[in-house]
């Protein structure tokens, strides 16, 4: 179990306990986090679950593989060094307390 916090640009926050093994795109939609769509269901084809990871946590979220790295090129809000597709971050005890910032497309 991990408590994950999503922070919006307007300062609002959503926090939720997420079962180990679920990906954080699924967790976001289940908890009504805005701007996380996950249209492709987590198969790296839509880039609609883009998040910025709190830099302190970034290394713990795992490696970015080639496909994710490429798909991060087509996010609505331009990628930064701490960008991830949240469908590729899997909840685990090690991520308890993780903070994600949700970009808002224009």
């Amino acid at each position: 179990m991990a408590t994950i916090t999503w922070k919006m640009e307007d300062g609002s926050e959503i926090a939720a306990d997420v079962k180990n093994g679920l990906n954080l795109m699924e967790a976001a939609t289940a908890n009504n986090v805005p701007h996380i769509e996950g249209e492709c269901g987590g198969c790296l084809s839509c880039a609609t679950c883009h998040v910025f990871v709190d830099p302190q946590w970034f290394a713990k979220t795992g490696e970015i593989d080639d496909i994710e790295d490429t798909m991060l090129e087509m996010t609505d809000v331009e990628r930064e060094d701490n960008s991830r597709l949240s469908c590729q971050i899997i909840a685990s005890d090690e991520l308890d307390g993780l903070v994600l910032y949700v970009p808002e497309p224009e």
Binding site: E37, E39, L44, M71
Partner: protein, 406 residues
């Protein structure tokens, strides 16, 4: 009090509509679905769900409680028998009359079946369209059993990949000259033929099924028009889907290859919208109907925005994906009307992309294990750029630079 917005059909388009609708305005709405489940993702059905790698709840686009928390009226397991546009109401099979202010039809499409006369109702013959379809057949996907797949489209090919992984013997029949003929160029068909043959699938193209036969109602095998006999324990019928437009037709809405909608996803009745597989619209002078998550989600989203007063039109660029074995296929654009293609080699032997052109205009890309072609190709198409075939075919060409107009 104003009547609610009523959504008929609880699939991807409905889920996408509701998510946007709730975020924007949230007047009352009622969701009516024939299946006992909240809206769920269909693409994993023929992939991870069939393989047993994904629990049912993870198919749900949002958990059931979410809809309750949003105060959506829910009628699952409920069929709508009629729409009465003049009365602004729908009638359910259970006898309920539900008034609507606006109506959204997301009735989807149904898998085509083989006629009974061809053995379509024998025990052991199935389609892959719903959770129930998979739940009924998954236990029979056992190593060593003989699976015959009728139809070489994406569903059939995805199921073939799962079946091989589970150790079944797989034969696939395609009546056209090549698999994927209806949806892709020969180069893409060639790639997937080789992929599946390499994994031990017997593929027969230009092979027409005469009939399936059985014993005491139980499937035994198939006879081809050539007279050849193929033994089978299971037959998957993957011969396409038909839009569910009967309700709309009976209500007098204009229908073509689907329920006809304008750029706002509005039907011929201005208070009735349609989204997803059941709808058809005009793009580049052609009437098209798409069976894809992208189309369902984007159209559902658009209807919610329209109802909230936004001035938006449906112009989304189509995209699509499929997973088979270790191959990730990603498609962007619509290849209808292409008159030539270009093959771009990828970094590995199993990676390449097929670029579709109509004369000088780039229309679409099939990218096999080649996400760069998909991601940058999408940007290239969106930007209205049509790089020359020579540039595309040259693996040294930097697609990112092309996408940025350099």
């Amino acid at each position: 009090m104003t009547a609610p917005i009523v959504i008929v059909g609880a699939g991807q388009a409905a889920a996408s509509f509701i998510a946007r609708h709730v975020a924007l305005s949230n007047p009352r709405s009622v969701l009516i679905g024939e299946e006992p489940h909240p809206p769920y993702q269909r693409p994993p059905l023929s992939k991870k769900y069939l393989l047993g790698e994904l629990e049912r709840e993870r198919l749900f686009i949002r958990p059931l409680e979410w809809y309750r928390e949003q105060n959506i009226g829910l009628r699952f397991d409920t069929r709508v028998d009629a729409i009465e546009p003049d009365q602004h109401r729908v009638l359910t099979a259970s006898g309920e009359s539900i008034a609507y202010d606006k109506l959204l039809l997301c009735t989807g499409s149904s898998a085509r079946r083989l006629p009974d006369a061809m053995g379509g109702s024998l025990d052991g013959v199935f389609t892959l369209r719903s959770i129930a379809d998979i739940d009924n057949v998954a236990s029979q996907f056992q190593a060593g059993r003989k699976l015959l797949i009728v139809g070489g489209g994406y569903i059939g090919l995805e199921a073939a990949a799962v079946a091989r992984k589970l150790g079944l013997e797989v034969t696939l029949l395609e009546m056209a000259e090549r698999i994927l003929q209806r949806v892709a160029a020969a180069a893409t068909s060639d790639y997937f033929r080789e992929l599946h043959q390499g994994h031990g699938v017997q593929i027969h193209e230009s092979a027409r099924l005469a009939r399936l036969f059985g014993e005491n109602g139980k499937l035994r095998g198939a006879e081809l028009e050539s007279g050849a006999i193929i033994d089978a324990d299971l037959v998957l019928v993957g011969i396409g889907a038909s839009p569910n437009i009967e309700l709309a037709q009976a209500a007098g809405l204009a229908c073509d290859i689907g329920i006809r909608v304008n750029d706002f996803c509005q039907t011929s009745d201005p208070d009735i919208y349609a989204a997803g597989d059941c709808s058809c619209f005009t793009r580049n002078g052609q009437t098209i109907r798409l069976e894809s998550v992208q189309n369902a989600a984007d159209q559902g989203d658009l209807v919610a925005r329209r109802l909230a007063g936004e001035d938006v039109r449906y112009t989304a660029l189509p995209w699509f994906w499929s997973d088979q074995y270790d191959c990730k296929l990603q498609i962007v654009g619509l290849n209808q009307g292409h008159n030539h293609t270009v093959i771009r080699p990828g970094a590995g032997a199993a990676s390449r992309s097929i670029w579709y052109y109509r004369d000088d205009e780039l229309l679409a890309i099939d990218a096999m294990n080649e996400p760069k072609s998909y991601a940058f190709g999408r940007k290239i198409i969106e930007a209205g750029i049509s790089p020359t075939p020579r540039l595309v075919a040259d693996p040294m060409t930097d697609l990112k630079a092309l996408a940025m107009g350099k």
